[in-house]
């Protein structure tokens, strides 16, 4: 077989493969649910109900989508420039650590200043974490996939050390957790009484900001040019190395914000289970969104709904909640294939 580019894809050509990809994902999930002894329709119904069935469920879904919007944006920004950042997990924890360092009483500032300081510091921390692998890539040609992946393990061990040592809560009954943030460092709730914090709004603002950068700024244009063809971009006079480093700072900064938002908005303190893999799930979010910043918001809501829904489905139907992870991984694989098929025709030799 060989692939033949389609000069002008029809409307159906652009819509059908992604629709089939989503369909195939649900078929895989249905088969697996049946293997586990569940009725697929009941299982999907329970997932839907768990994600959107009540005010509490909807707020839970929005809260769960928040870190995924940040990490999804981080990945989308990086992947668009073909900077393979698989280290959003470490960058997220870096943002969380700095938030805890600044926000547990070391400084006392009025709330708006405190929050701004923590957010900016978290962005810087995340950005710095990715700068290392990005420099290794641009200076020495070391593949950033492996270095960012390996660095996740290193940084999590570092966080584990901090939580058992310098950042350990003296009142924590021996648990490896940090002290709680002071009230000035906590992101308030959007509406009093509803469990949804301003981190969600911040995530939406971040998505719009990335969209503006992508479409309206020179940097956005340069990032895409480098991603499409680095050699041609260099030939056209774009400073490729600088663009890659700027991309890394932006991507790492966005992932760092996820850590700030989770600690300051949701948890109030840092533990080792702050992120159940938001950095990795961000890859799925970004790919499902076709790397589009506003699409990331939609994809993050979809992914969060499946996670939140599967959690409550698992309790009710006895089908393991790992079904959600399988659905997302297969959606990712089917979707990259579908996107290819919107642009290419498969021909037999």
């Amino acid at each position: 077989m060989r692939l033949e580019p389609i000069a002008a894809p029809s409307f159906g050509r652009r819509i059908l493969p992604p629709a089939l990809a989503i369909g195939a994902t649900f078929v895989v999930a249905a088969l697996l649910a049946m293997i586990a002894g569940g009725n697929p329709f009941a299982v999907f119904g329970l997932i839907l109900k768990g994600a959107f069935g009540s005010k509490f469920a909807i707020l839970e879904t929005l809260n769960s989508a928040t870190p995924l919007i940040f990490t999804g944006l981080a990945i989308a920004v990086a992947f668009r420039a073909k900077l393979w950042n698989i280290g959003a997990e470490a960058q997220l924890y870096a943002g969380a650590v700095i938030t805890v360092v600044l926000g547990t009483g070391a400084l006392s500032l009025p709330a708006p200043l405190m929050l701004a300081l923590c957010a900016i510091a978290a962005m810087l921390a995340g950005a710095l974490i990715l700068l290392g692998p990005a420099l290794l890539k641009t200076r020495l040609g070391v593949d950033e996939v492996v270095t960012t992946l390996l660095f996740n393990f290193i940084f999590l061990l570092f966080v584990s050390y901090l939580l058992e040592g310098p950042l350990k809560d003296p009142m924590g009954m021996g648990w490896p957790k940090s002290a709680r943030l002071i009230p000035e460092a906590r992101l308030p709730r959007i509406v009093e009484g509803l469990r949804l914090h301003w981190g969600f709004a911040l995530a939406l603002i971040a998505a719009i900001a990335v969209w503006v950068i992508n479409t309206l700024t020179t940097l956005g244009y340069e990032m895409r040019a480098v991603g499409q063809n680095a050699e041609a971009a260099a030939f056209a006079g774009i400073p490729v190395t600088k663009v890659i480093l700027k991309t890394a700072l932006l991507s790492g900064g966005l992932a760092g914000l996820a850590g700030f938002s989770e600690v300051s908005g949701l948890k109030g303190s840092l533990t080792l289970d702050l992120s159940p893999g938001f950095g990795y799930t961000g890859i799925v979010v970004a790919m499902l969104a076709l790397l589009h910043p506003l699409g990331v918001v939609v994809a993050a809501l979809f992914v969060a709904a499946i996670f939140v829904g599967a959690d409550s489905m698992s309790r009710a139907a006895g089908v393991p909640s790992y079904l959600a992870d399988i659905m997302l991984a297969s959606a990712l694989l089917f979707m990259v294939l579908a996107i290819l098929l919107t642009k290419f025709r498969v021909r037999r030799d």
Partner: protein, 314 residues
């Protein structure tokens, strides 16, 4: 001096060889994929799936070697998935690999929960026992270190030797290497680049899964969710460190495993009382990154690695 005592003890080197074994299987598997031109980032997930598949098969009544075969087949099936996406369709090997790792890992955990719904601790199996090779195991120091290992460890070293033999001494090996260096030349010979690359990914993935199964069938006797713990990513670094050559890759794996065995022992010495244990646990990952940095200047990387091949394109 404690360090010298450790380095001169047979048990230390025996541990290093044992720790190296799963890395050798998986590194050789990755090396085969990369020599054919395909970066297989599914390795971490394939190792998880192999560890589980081999263990659950033995728990279900198969003999130990049957478990190894089940792991091999599981890895080959996952490799087939990877290769369909990455070779004929030429999709981003980064995205496909990470996607396959997520898929294989979640499928494994799902299956675990379906097969063993109500267990608090996973059941144990009777794992491979050390087999002392007659005469050789009586040698001082090297005997207990090299020749009193489990059969799967011997298999790892034999596999590495056979891989080197096939890669460098057979037409098949030449075709695999050429597919990773100059696929146009392979196609010009009338051979199918697609078939060679897919075959390499399928076979390589099978070996990765056996590397995972080493953990459950030989190193330990049970399956835990986080047991692979980044070993797959470390193997990717080991392939680079070994300059894409089987012999050097094995040497790298043993060297790496020796450091790992050393850090475990140093934790129990005076140094371990001062330095936080997390620093020791970080060492394997830091060493891997260092290895990548040190080796980055060498230009032995297969020329067509990560370059999809579409016939007719130049």
């Amino acid at each position: 001096m404690e360090l010298i005592d450790i380095l001169l003890s047979a048990s230390f080197w025996a541990a290093a060889i044992r720790i190296a074994s799963p890395l050798i299987f998986a590194t050789i598997g990755e090396l085969i994929c990369e020599r054919a031109g395909v970066l297989n980032l599914g390795i971490e997930g394939i190792m998880v799936a192999g560890a589980f598949a081999g263990w659950i098969a033995v728990w279900g009544g198969l003999p130990l070697w049957g478990g190894v075969a089940v792991a091999l087949l599981t890895g080959m099936m996952l490799g087939l998935v990877h290769s369909i996406f990455s070779v004929p369709f030429g999709l981003s090997q980064h995205v496909v690999g990470v996607g396959l790792t997520l898929l294989a890992t979640s499928l494994t955990f799902y299956t675990y929960r379906v097969v063993l719904p109500e267990v608090s601790s996973p059941p144990k199996i009777t794992a491979f026992q050390p087999y002392e090779i007659p005469l050789l195991s009586d040698l001082p120091l090297v005997g207990p270190a090299l020749f009193s290992q489990t059969p799967l460890t011997y298999a790892a070293f034999i596999l590495a030797g056979l891989t080197a033999l096939v890669l460098y001494r057979t037409p098949l090996g030449l075709a695999v290497r050429a597919a990773g260096e100059n696929p146009q030349a392979v196609a010009a010979q009338g051979l199918s680049v697609t078939a060679i690359r897919m075959g390499a990914v399928v076979v390589g993935s099978g070996f990765m899964a056996v590397g995972g199964a080493f953990l459950t069938l030989s190193a330990f006797d049970s399956f835990f969710f986080d047991m692979v713990n980044g070993r797959g990513w470390i193997c990717i670094a080991l392939v680079v460190f070994g300059a894409w050559k089987p012999g050097k890759a094995v040497l790298g794996a043993v060297l790496f495993a020796a450091f790992d065995a050393l850090q475990i022992r140093l934790q129990q010495t005076g140094i371990g009382a001062v330095v936080p244990y997390q620093v020791f646990l970080m060492m394997p990952y830091i060493l891997s990154i260092l290895a990548l940095v040190v080796m980055s200047r060498r230009a032995e990387i297969p020329a067509a690695l990560m370059v999809p091949f579409n016939k007719g394109e130049r």
